[in-house]
Point group: C2
Chain length 350, copies 2
């Protein structure tokens, strides 16, 4: 079969689906997560003094979930979720005198990297990654993300909030304790800007959300992987990574802030099944994920999951065309079976 | 010093220049090239039967350089340069019946991956990489690239020719014998398309080439690294990689096909000094490079060199914003000194 060039649904991004060599999931193992060796984990309970003061803490009191943050340099110990500023932030809050928009010197455009960069510690348990987490703990994670996103989006100079996760040293994780990161930026990222522009254009021309149209097509395609009441998971048409999958809320919504309580629980279950299924299929591979969401009514938020199984080399870096040796239809078939097994396995304690 | 967000000269691509931790070149060592272990190198002399027949061979006869190619399955042995089709091509020549343009099924756009994918074996000597190569051998490499590019560009369905190089397993090289690759594609890559559009717009508005303007600015900046009569090397304003540098011909030209004999020699020297300088500074790091060139008169061809020293993680992959911990001005200072030493070292046998 000849290789196929495929364009992303939305982006001007092409991928070569290279099927000349038949690949099995086992061909991608040996990419297991390598632990970065750290003697003392700064995210484990008891080591709270090794991080900056928490901006948000969830803790239990009298069987009720309560919220707090670290005050006056004192670190709370009895947390179930903990958000802290990143010790080496890429983006930092505005100080007096900082200019809020890009400046230009002829061909050089620049601005201060204003914003926020926080770590969400997902559990007091070092290894409670989404692939093995309790569903209720993932509900806390999602609610804490909502709290922080809501705060960042209220800042005047924040144009975008990115939620992402790096799992495994090869995928850029410098600490192995279960955590995600949140970055608030003073610019709209180019990838999201391109999505937004296509969404708007599609809405004007067709009177509906382009992502709703994509979900409708893929839920009945050979790229479909899994669904529950609130969410659907599928392999995208033109993935840049082997075994890439995307997670969408079925109901049209722009931001995770719009999640109902039921949908929050459905998302928690989706994360558990998805990352448990991925772990089982490929022996706990390194991966990244990123949320895409903007507060515009024709936009449909979603999560893109990128297993870190390929090396992007000179061709990808200089052209923006990607070569993917795993056709998404085959990846979806393997993931579908693995997700199903994971769903069965957790049924009893859901 | 606060981190700075910088936009690429041309592309809608932003980079965070993160200078919170002072980095020295030694912080980036330990990324040395790992050899992929291969018992028999298919690119070494004597093993020609392990590759497809050569599409181009340079050989010496009576002190003159001559050209040939492999005919009737017989492999020539006495080559100094050898081009062969890639055994696992991403793009393949058109067969009868293939359609030449993208097709669409609602939201799914695709076409056959038509084109060419060749390997240019840069020397009979396994380890004669550009960083240690004889200048004359690099002249042969450049001339062979010109020959193949000229052929590919004459095919009706070829819209772009990409020349790139992967050095070291971490940078995607599957074989360690000195080689580059050439891919001819039936689409214009998105990165190059975006450059072309800005070039055209800049020309209409300013009556000149935007890259000529960039060279003029950077040759006198703290990002300048090295120059000879024909070429200039500088660290770009918003590099996505630590120690990234770009190589431009000083004279405005769209394609390497326009290189004069003197410029070809100047480019060979530039490659030797650049990759020798990079090797010395960072202990032979893995890297990729890619040429950018299109046959349009307002475009200015160049080479972008990406040392493979950073891991792009969830934030980069989901937003298209890059975090670079090495400010290009500091990288340029280190590279400038290292290139100068390399130039001195090779002066006697140039």
């Amino acid at each position: 079969m000849a290789n196929e060039l495929r364009k992303d649904y939305i982006l001007n991004r092409w991928v070569v689906i290279a099927s000349h060599r038949k690949r099995r999931p086992t061909d991608f193992r040996g990419n297991q997560v390598e632990e970065n060796k750290v003697i003392i984990c700064p995210f484990c309970p008891g080591n709270e003094h090794l991080t900056p003061p928490a901006s948000l803490i969830y803790f239990m009191e009298d069987g009720e979930l309560r919220k707090d943050y670290d005050k006056d340099g004192v670190r709370r110990k009895d947390w179930v979720i903990r958000c802290v500023p990143n010790l080496y932030p890429a983006f930092s809050p505005r100080k007096p005198g900082a200019t809020l928009s890009p400046q230009a010197d002829h061909i050089h455009v620049y601005m201060e990297a204003l914003g926020y960069h926080e770590v969400l510690i997902e559990s007091p348990n070092h290894d409670e990654h989404p692939s093995v987490s309790r569903i209720q703990q993932l509900v806390h994670v999602i609610n804490a993300l909502k709290d922080r996103v809501s705060f960042f989006m209220s800042r005047e100079y924040v144009k975008y909030v990115s939620i992402f996760r790096n799992h495994g040293a090869k995928a850029g994780a410098s600490l192995s304790h279960a955590h995600s990161q949140i970055i608030a930026t003073p610019i709209l990222p180019s990838i999201v800007e391109e999505e937004r522009n296509v969404c708007e254009k599609y809405y004007v021309e067709n009177g509906r959300c382009v992502f709703c149209r994509i979900i409708e097509a893929e839920i009945d395609s050979e790229r479909f992987i899994w669904e529950n009441n609130g969410f659907v998971v599928f392999a995208p048409w033109a993935p840049t990574n082997p075994f890439e999958f995307w997670i969408f809320p079925k109901r049209h919504q722009s931001l995770i802030l719009e999640l109902t309580e039921d949908e929050t629980r459905d998302l928690a279950e989706t994360l558990r099944v998805s990352f448990g299924g991925l772990r089982n299929l490929l022996s706990d591979p390194p991966y990244n994920f990123g949320f895409h969401m903007i507060p515009e009514k024709h936009y449909h938020w979603h999560i893109e999951v990128y297993p870190s199984l390929a090396t992007w080399a000179g061709f990808e870096k200089s052209t923006g065309i990607y070569i993917n040796v795993m056709p998404p239809e085959e990846a979806a078939k393997d993931l579908r079976e693995s997700f199903k097994r994971e769903e069965e396995a957790i049924k009893d304690f859901r």
